[in-house]
Symmetry: C2
Subunit: 352 residues, 2 copies
């Protein structure tokens, strides 16, 4: 498109009657020795203004071999609404620190060579660093061409000296179930998913932790595996068909979409939420959790915090964050971010 010739440092230098060195020093505000007197500075600034000078970032990149940009690679996170806040938080922090974000969605890119191409392209652009984000919490095999400083978000690299930022799933699940226990429930179901192995394992462990803490013996009949979808939640209605003395008075759902389905299943059975059945979800999914009737109590995934910390880590700005722990892989480290509970109206004490 356009082919406007922008003015360069040289143009400004000529107009101000100084050398390009001086212009560069002034415009970049370098203070190593207060060398240039204010009168000269002023002259340079005026010339730059008159010529509407904008530095050519590309030239600067080449010279400094860095580009003030960060590559944000995702499996398909940018395809899903879930993690949108993560991306925008990342971008905000980047901008705030003078960096731009290249967003690359690997999507269903199959083939290691294509993945490698994408990474190579980013590297060819001299990015300061790379973020690798996943849609849902999982363990990933890091593509071989990934540089060491890469930060993984919402996933953990199976090997390599990488940093990973993940949600504290297990403690969040425990907190969810504890909320139910504190409200007086003892027969608490877990409507689970198994297709998302890491989250499944961790949330189940948290569920069991909380029960154990309250000396409640887990009843296997109350642990139902279904799919993490609305339809899967409707199918979870099977828990409500259990005999009266076994039937759960509260159900912790693997995610909000299942909770949405479970609402429907309860309604079909003439059960009132939370009067007859308390429900807690997971995700705090936008447009769902807050919009259900009644609004759903759920655990919020810390997408914003993860996106922010990821960029801060890449830029080595995370010095005030104390949560890094050594990870299983040699040289790796992990940050687990809390998932706060969002209390709404789907939990009440059990009746009778």
């Amino acid at each position: 498109m356009r082919a406007i010739r922008r003015s360069t440092l040289k143009d400004v230098a000529k107009r101000a009657g100084v050398s390009v060195t001086t212009v560069s020093v002034v415009l970049n505000g370098r203070q190593d020795g207060v060398r240039v007197p204010e009168t000269t500075r002023e002259r340079v600034r005026r010339a730059a203004g008159e010529l509407d000078y904008r530095p050519n970032q590309t030239a600067r990149n080449l010279r400094q071999s860095s580009s003030r940009s960060i590559g944000f690679i995702s499996d398909e996170v940018t395809t899903t609404p879930f993690a949108v806040p993560m991306l925008s938080a990342a971008q905000e922090v980047a901008t705030h620190n003078g960096h731009l974000l290249f967003v690359v969605n690997l999507g269903h890119v199959v083939g290691a060579d294509l993945q490698r191409d994408a990474i190579d392209t980013l590297l060819a652009h001299q990015v300061t660093g790379l973020v690798f984000a996943c849609m849902y919490h999982q363990e990933v095999e890091p593509p071989p061409s990934l540089p060491d400083g890469t930060v993984f978000v919402n996933c953990r690299a199976k090997r390599g000296p990488f940093r990973s930022i993940i949600p504290a799933e297990q403690s969040a699940a425990a907190a969810a179930v504890r909320l139910l226990l504190d409200t007086g429930h003892r027969r608490i179901g877990f409507l689970d998913d198994t297709l998302i192995p890491v989250a499944h394992r961790l949330r189940l462990a948290g569920y069991q932790d909380a029960l154990r803490e309250y000396s409640v013996v887990p009843d296997p009949r109350l642990h139902l595996c279904s799919q993490a979808t609305v339809a899967g939640g409707v199918a979870g209605g099977a828990l409500l068909d259990l005999p009266q003395d076994v039937r759960p008075t509260a159900i912790f759902c693997f995610n909000d979409r299942m909770a949405m389905g479970l609402y429907r299943a309860a309604r079909h059975r003439g059960l009132n939420v939370p009067g007859d059945l308390s429900i807690v979800g997971f995700d705090d999914q936008e447009f769902i959790a807050s919009e259900l009737d009644p609004p759903l109590t759920t655990m919020r995934l810390p997408h914003v915090e993860m996106g922010r910390l990821a960029i801060e880590s890449v830029l080595d700005l995370d010095t005030d964050y104390a949560g890094w722990q050594p990870g299983p892989a040699k040289g790796s480290s992990v940050a687990m971010l809390e998932c706060p509970v969002v209390e709404r109206e789907s939990v009440a004490p059990p009746t009778g």
Copy 2:
């Protein structure tokens, strides 16, 4: 992060025993005259492979004064799940054509100077072009520093020689209402929103077009303005409290979230969808439209198509697209993309 010294053209040249010119020509596959013989080419390629050579895009950018990147600016589109498919389609087309996408979310950036900063930064990176995307269809005042070739998506620039890509709202609304008319409905309500002026005006016009086409006189009592939220949809239940002979047998909703609320309002009144009330939405919002009970018939916003065409336009690859029409502003042009109807199960013939 990392400080690996990557090998350069010079390294490859030395290893292959040729000049950097030759290496550059071979590696870029320039064919202007089949100059370099295959044996030399092979030698160069081998050397490059052995040294794991990757071109430095930054140097190339400087030399060619273009950067094989595109700036994707949005008001807050990347903050909302609505238009995620737009972003990922844009990125896919860009990648496919050797370009990277810089994503910048203006968010609630107030102040023209900050907007200007964002645009300047992108321009400083020598982007090939700019896309300006909006969350919802509107008319925008283009920031003054925007270059002429900028493409507006899901919005229209109020002035300037820009290209804009927008959904064909009016004809889509007409199609939605026509669907209801064809099913036999005559008392068709429009649950409208007024906070989104452009879409409001266009969808209302489409609603009226369709009625007129079928010689149905619009009844002002059936046009209710509310908010484009679930709560606004619940409030739309007022339409259902109209006297029996006035009450609509079908309602066209401004968006899917309102439809979600209207489902709830209908249920509270013991009305069955679609048995007692047919409903058509707008947006085909993920996780909502398809997940309602019954699944919602709605108009799909062409986010994918808009994102794709935007990048193609910036790269002048849209030569096979014949839909550009002159726009109101001098030198501007507009592409209106169709919104296909997604038929699901919320429409049935009126009873009685």
